[in-house]
């Protein structure tokens, strides 16, 4: 028994419910027996990983589903020990090198080389190559990416790399050019709708279409989130009602409350309160860019036309600097302070205009 999202995950390329053309293409690619390095990218919840596992299954058969978790230990040149966890079957290995933080280069150098250098024992029953699946490639440091590019070429006979990431903008061009890019777009609202209906049908539930479309709306085309929301709704109340409130995660509610706090009062004291809330979000591993986006979405609702543009521009400005800096709280706070400043001015001017 597990959550619906895992329960109803398709396991083969033919069972995929959307982007079927692409699925067929991948299938053909694999049936040829060989394929280049892949770079799979697309937004979160679009089904990248699902597609990759389907592909692997297509490639190696059911054996690929027998997974094991392995721990690898490495020592960096500076004698620092790092531990990395991999998931491996007989045919492939899945690594997230960015777990090692800034030391990911060592992981790429040691682990991937080690795996890639080993030949398959029995190439008659198996493919001639193993697959190394690297996730969150966009979080790799530049060093690690450069370490990767040579490895990709050198061991191309014994291993294929599948890189998985959300955006290619942080992948260096050298790697992009060595891979076949596979873009997995987010499902459309209708697709999500239909999938939600299918899930409910399989569970023996009836889902009002209004609720389904509202969930699809709220999920911002993230299928995983949509299905999880659906389940949360079910947990909250069943049978469904069309006007049922879609359950949101606590952090989202918390973020919205924070935004409301900013709008309702602009003062140094309030800034300190907001700082506390921002800290709370950050410590709970909510990425700062998500926070700033969420804040902006809420703040903008209480702004006028021209102010909207200004606030958005500032949000983008601080989001960018946040990537350049070390301590994201500084930048989030600076954004809040900036907003407070311009919003207060805006309000006062509005008041003055009213008085006139």
């Amino acid at each position: 028994m597990s959550l619906w999202v895992d329960k109803y995950r398709p396991t083969s390329l033919s069972k995929l419910s959307y982007h079927t053309e692409q699925a067929a293409q991948l299938k053909r690619l694999v049936q040829n027996g060989d394929f280049p390095h892949l770079l799979v990218f697309g937004p979160s919840g679009a089904g990248k990983k699902t597609r990759i596992t389907c592909l692997l299954r297509e490639l190696y058969g059911a054996g690929v589903e027998k997974l094991r978790i392995e721990h690898h230990n490495f020592t960096t040149p500076s004698k620092k020990k790092i531990e990395i966890t991999t998931i491996a079957s007989n045919y492939h290995i899945e690594v997230c090198p960015s777990d090692a933080g800034v030391q990911d280069r060592v992981v790429v150098q040691e682990l991937i080389k080690m795996v890639a250098q080993a030949q398959q024992l029995d190439s008659s029953t198996q493919r001639e190559f193993k697959v190394v699946l690297l996730t969150e490639v966009d979080r790799l440091t530049k060093d690690a990416q450069h370490a990767l590019r040579r490895t990709m070429e050198k061991y191309v006979t014994t291993c294929r790399l599948i890189l998985c990431c959300e955006s290619t903008s942080k992948v260096i061009p050298a790697i992009r050019s060595r891979c076949l890019g596979v873009r997995v777009p987010a499902p459309s609202h209708e697709q999500i709708n239909s999938i939600l209906q299918t899930v409910c049908k399989k569970e023996g539930l009836t889902l009002p279409p209004e609720l389904a479309s509202r969930i699809a709306d709220k999920s911002s085309r993230n299928l995983r989130r949509a299905i999880l929301m659906l389940e949360a709704c079910k947990v909250q109340q069943y049978p469904f009602r069309p006007d049922q409130q879609v359950v949101e995660a606590d952090w989202e509610v918390f973020l919205r409350e924070t935004a409301n706090a900013i709008v309702s009062q602009q003062s140094p004291r309030r800034l300190l309160e907001v700082r506390g809330r921002l800290y709370e979000l950050l410590t709970h591993c909510i990425p700062p860019d998500v926070i700033i986006r969420g804040l902006l979405a809420e703040l903008i609702d209480s702004c006028d036309g021209q102010l909207k543009a200004e606030v958005t521009q500032w949000a983008a400005y601080y989001e960018h600097r946040l990537q350049l800096g070390n301590k994201s709280i500084y930048h989030l706070e600076a954004f809040v302070a900036k907003f407070m400043s311009i919003y207060k001015k805006f309000l006062d001017e509005g008041m003055a205009a009213m008085m006139l």
Partner: protein, 996 residues
């Protein structure tokens, strides 16, 4: 070279009559006619010649000597004196315009003024020199001829050549006529007064000068006239050359303010006694700062005067004005009283002060008046080092005779005597005698206090030394019977604590000596481990020194007592002194002799245990006056001359460290016996003790406004950052919203925009920080200092409301890391079942999962337990992961669903989970984190399962930070079992909540 040669006039022709004068003028005309362009050349030639002329004066003097022995002597004596004092100020201003005005085209402008000057000068000359009628007449005649010349030339040539001619004429006239010779310098002299900024002052000065010059003239008559002439002219020319560019400048600028500067510049060159003007002010500042040059007055010329500054002075900051007054021996007080000599009134002066001024009839000055006062007030005329006397040094305010004089000069600038006969001169002889004693001893040792009374700042009855003496005296009485008493005297040891250089060690040793204790001193240079303490000290304490026997017959005989002085106990650390403190405490407990311990920082961690056993005596830094008095007497003995304000500077710079002050003085005495205010200021800058400030103090300084920060330069401000470059940015960031910026003036909008600017600047600092750390480019630190500390300070300058907080970032950061680890662990455990990244795990997955589980536990209670366990194991989660899951998904201020779970259900849930064996795809023993959890899961549950269930969630949170240090502490001691049980307890409580 003599100018006269150019004009072919023989020096011998000096005694001819006016007729000849006209002839000379005729000659001159001819010269002019030759060509105006040659004149230009002639001017240039003068220029070049003048350099060479410096030598000849001696020659000429020598020739003069050869001629007559008697006059020579007088001559030899007089010229230098004249050079130094009178003729110079007189001569300088004249020549520049006369000789070189023509050379520069700018003079066209100044021509009329030059004429005007001449005339005024001429008038003055009339008045002054009336006694020498002849001269006067000649002068007039000469002027007339000059005027004629002028008219004629004006018609023919342009203005500037005109002038040249005129000058040349005057020049020419000199050699031909002796009387004219005499007058020409006079004329030049005459010109000087108008140049001075304030006419009121100049006239008396003039008169004085002229008196002198007239004296000179008399002298001249005695001497050979020619030689005199030569001297004069020579003196003339170099002067002229030096001053000419300045003059040109000053004449260009119409402002009268500048003229005094030029004047004084000339002073510098000629008169060592007066010194020169110096550009003293800093040029920064918005107003008219630095426009007025501060005069270099005579030493101690404001001695004994008391000033009150009020309002805004246009050209200097208040502290500069104060410094100025103090430098010349004056005193600046805050409020007007009867004793106030002057009130310096600036713009927007305080009402109340002005009222008081009018009530008390105190004299007022404006800014210029103050400068004037400095410039004109008499001090000691010659500021030569040997003149430095202890008396002068000690009692500059006592110098009463000066008092009335400056007053007079300032009111009516007619003060006639610029040089006051200084009564201090005879004191010169004192110096060498005092300076002689054996130089081998450092002053610190030489002037070490010999009695407890002599310790600086410890004279009072309630002073620490008194207390220490009493304590020592009564020690045997109190501790003869072994019981400890509760009052302060019950301690067996004393702990003297205080900053370095205040006399702790001195106090201890002196007290022992005075009470006849023999003492053993152990300091940081001795090994003070447990063993050596035991051996050495206890041995020493149980034996008696032979000194006691030798001293028999003296008053302490027989009663020879002992004490132990443990100096620098806070230095007892490291491997060498292992166990030292503990042993010391042990010694103290059983000691039969008093023990005196000393340390700098009694709040230090290492001292914590010791403090409880010691009589606590805290030494404060002596006040400035206390140190100064002692230093003054010492300086007197050493023949070192130092003005009190200078000494204050040094004392403050060394942060009231007596020892260091003495060292500084010693160092200075080696170089020079006299120390002026400026030197002392410079020295104090060098001597400035770098005091390390804590980040709290730094943060306060960053944001606070007022005296101390107003004076800080940008470098000082960025230095604040460097007190701790890793902590200060955090402190600033934490506390900037608390600051109330004065710039906002209570306007919320402005305040907010300042906040925003500050936050932006802090962000910039963060970006720089990232660069520094990632690329090791530490050279950027000053940049970060500006962004992270200086700019925020500037924006938010005001006052901090509330106390300064410790940066929350550190705590939040470690919490974030802990939760990150939790998330990673969850991710790893769930990874086989899910396909998401950590990010989406937290954003999307965990919340629904928690809802699902909690829903089961809350709604179905115990019936839901099996299902919940099943769900956990479906995701390969362990019981502990469930706690982690809750922690990751709970936010402050959001309804806490986990609280709704019945504690009975919770314990049932735990039991149900533990009953089954769960196959996990990962090894649970590899990571130490998991081991923790495992141990807790197996061992603790049984014993603590029934414990109170109402332990709150916050309890768990509180414990978490405690846990971390525990792990850190215990790991090195390899007490794994302990740490596990500790952990177990922490967990157990958390679990208890669920179970009970």
């Amino acid at each position: 070279m003599d100018i006269r040669r150019f004009f072919g006039a023989a020096p011998g022709a000096g005694k001819t009559k006016p007729a000849q004068k006209t002839s000379s003028s005729a000659k001159e005309k001819a010269g002019v006619k030759k060509s105006s362009q040659t004149k230009r050349k002639a001017a240039v030639i003068y220029d070049s010649d003048s350099d060479g002329e410096e030598v000849p004066p001696v020659k000429q003097q020598k020739t003069a000597e050869a001629k007559s022995a008697k006059p020579n002597k007088t001559e030899v004596k007089t010229p230098p004196s004249r050079k130094k004092s009178d003729p110079k100020p007189v001569l300088k201003p004249t020549s520049a315009a006369d000789f070189f005005g023509a050379a520069s085209p700018t003079h066209r402008v100044s021509r009329t003024t030059a004429v005007a000057k001449k005339k005024t000068g001429f008038d003055a000359g009339k008045v002054v020199d009336s006694e020498t009628n002849k001269e006067f007449h000649d002068d007039e005649a000469f002027m007339e001829t000059l005027a004629e010349l002028d008219k004629k030339k004006a018609a023919a040539t342009s203005v500037s050549p005109d002038k040249k001619k005129q000058e040349n004429g005057s020049q020419k006239a000199k050699p031909t006529k002796t009387k004219e010779d005499a007058t020409s310098p006079k004329k030049t002299r005459d010109k000087s007064p108008p140049l001075r900024g304030s006419p009121k002052k100049t006239s008396p000065q003039k008169s004085k000068y002229f008196d002198k010059t007239s004296d000179d003239l008399k002298m001249k008559k005695k001497i050979k006239l020619e030689s005199q002439d030569g001297d004069e002219t020579k003196a003339h020319q170099p002067n002229a050359k030096k001053t000419s560019p300045e003059k040109a400048k000053s004449e260009k600028t119409p402002s009268p303010k500048k003229s005094p500067t030029k004047d004084t510049d000339q002073d510098v060159e000629k008169k060592p006694s007066k010194g020169g003007y110096r550009a003293y002010l800093t040029r920064e500042g918005p107003r008219a700062l630095g426009t007025k040059e501060i005069p270099q007055g005579e030493e101690n010329c404001l001695g004994g005067l008391t000033f009150v500054l009020t309002g805004i002075l246009e050209s200097m900051e208040r502290h500069e004005a104060k410094e100025l007054v103090e430098r010349y021996g004056g005193k600046v007080t805050g409020s007007v009283s009867r004793k106030t000599s002057y009130v310096v009134v600036g713009r927007d002066a305080g009402e109340s002060k002005l009222n008081k001024v009018s009530q008390l009839g105190v004299k007022t000055l404006d800014e210029d008046g103050l400068l004037e006062l400095v410039r004109t007030s008499p001090g000691k005329p010659y500021d030569l080092p040997p003149e430095a006397t202890s008396k002068g040094k000690k009692s500059p305010p006592k110098k009463s005779p000066n008092k009335p004089e400056p007053a007079a000069t300032s009111r009516k600038p007619a003060a006639s005597s610029s040089h006051v006969g200084s009564p201090k001169k005879p004191a010169v002889s004192l110096d060498p005698t005092a300076g002689s004693p054996e130089p081998s001893l450092l002053w610190v040792d030489k002037y070490k206090p010999q009695t407890t009374k002599a310790i600086i700042g410890q004279q009072g009855d309630r002073s620490n030394v008194k207390k220490l003496l009493n304590w020592l005296r009564t020690w045997p009485k109190h501790h003869s019977g072994r019981q400890m008493k509760e009052d302060g005297s019950g301690f067996r040891a004393a702990l003297l604590s205080g900053p370095p250089g205040v006399g702790k060690t001195t106090a201890a040793t002196l007290c022992c000596q005075e009470l006849g204790f023999t003492y053993i001193e152990l300091n940081a240079s001795d090994t003070r481990s447990k063993r050596s303490l035991q051996e050495e000290v206890s041995e020493a304490l149980t034996t008696r020194s032979i000194v006691g026997f030798q001293k028999q017959g003296t008053k302490h005989a027989g009663t020879m007592r002992q004490a132990v002085i443990m100096d620098e106990v806070d230095g007892m650390a490291g491997n060498e002194d292992r166990g030292g403190i503990a042993e010391l405490i042990n010694l103290i407990k059983h000691s039969k002799v008093p023990i005196i311990c000393m340390c700098n920082d009694r709040a230090h961690q290492k001292m914590r245990s010791l403090v409880n056993y010691c009589f606590d005596l805290r030494f404060q830094r002596p006040r400035v006056e206390q140190i100064r008095a002692a230093m003054m007497s010492m300086a007197f003995k050493e023949g070192l001359k130092i003005p009190p304000p200078a000494l204050n500077q040094i004392i403050e710079a060394t942060n009231h460290d007596v020892r260091q002050v003495i060292h500084q003085l010693y160092m200075w005495s080696v170089q020079d016996k006299g120390l002026t205010f400026d030197q002392a200021k410079e020295a104090s800058k060098q001597a400035h003790k770098d005091i390390k400030q804590g980040p709290f103090e730094v943060t306060r300084k960053v944001f606070s406004s007022g005296e101390e920060t107003a004076r800080m330069t940008i470098m000082d401000k960025s230095d604040l950052f460097f007190h701790d470059y890793s902590m200060v940015p955090l402190f600033v960031q934490e506390n900037y919203p608390h600051a109330q910026p004065h710039a906002a003036r209570g306007d919320v909008k402005k305040h907010l925009s300042l906040l925003s600017q500050t936050a932006d600047s802090i962000c910039d600092g963060d970006l720089v920080d990232r660069l520094i750390r990632s690329q090791q480019s530490w050279g950027l630190l000053p940049t970060q200092a500006i962004y992270a500390s200086v700019l925020p300070g500037e924006y938010m300058r005001g006052h901090l409301s509330g106390m300064i907080n410790f940066p929350g970032w550190l705590g939040q950061f470690s919490k974030q890391n802990r939760l990150k680890r939790l998330l990673q662990e969850l991710h790893m455990h769930m990874h086989l079942r899910t396909s998401c990244t950590k990010k989406s795990l937290q954003e999307d997955y965990l919340d629904p999962l928690r809802r699902r589980i909690l829903n089961l536990l809350v709604k179905k209670e115990t019936e839901g337990v099996p299902e919940a366990v099943e769900l956990l194991s479906a995701y390969d989660l362990m019981r502990e992961d469930y706690d982690g899951l809750l922690e990751l998904t709970e936010f402050k201020g959001r309804p806490n669903m986990a609280d709704k779970v019945n504690s009975k259900v919770k314990s049932a849930f735990t039991r149900a989970y533990n009953k089954e064996a769960h196959m996990q795809p990962y090894s649970t023993s590899v990571a130490p984190k998991k081991k923790r959890g495992g141990a807790a899961a197996t061992s603790v549950d049984m014993e603590e399962g029934g414990e109170g269930g109402d332990v709150e969630e916050s309890d768990e949170e509180k414990e978490d930070p405690k846990l971390d240090p525990m792990i850190k502490v215990k790991k090195p001691s390899a007490a794994k079992g302990k740490s596990e049980s500790g952990k177990g307890k922490g967990r157990g409580k958390g679990r208890g909540k669920k179970s009970a």
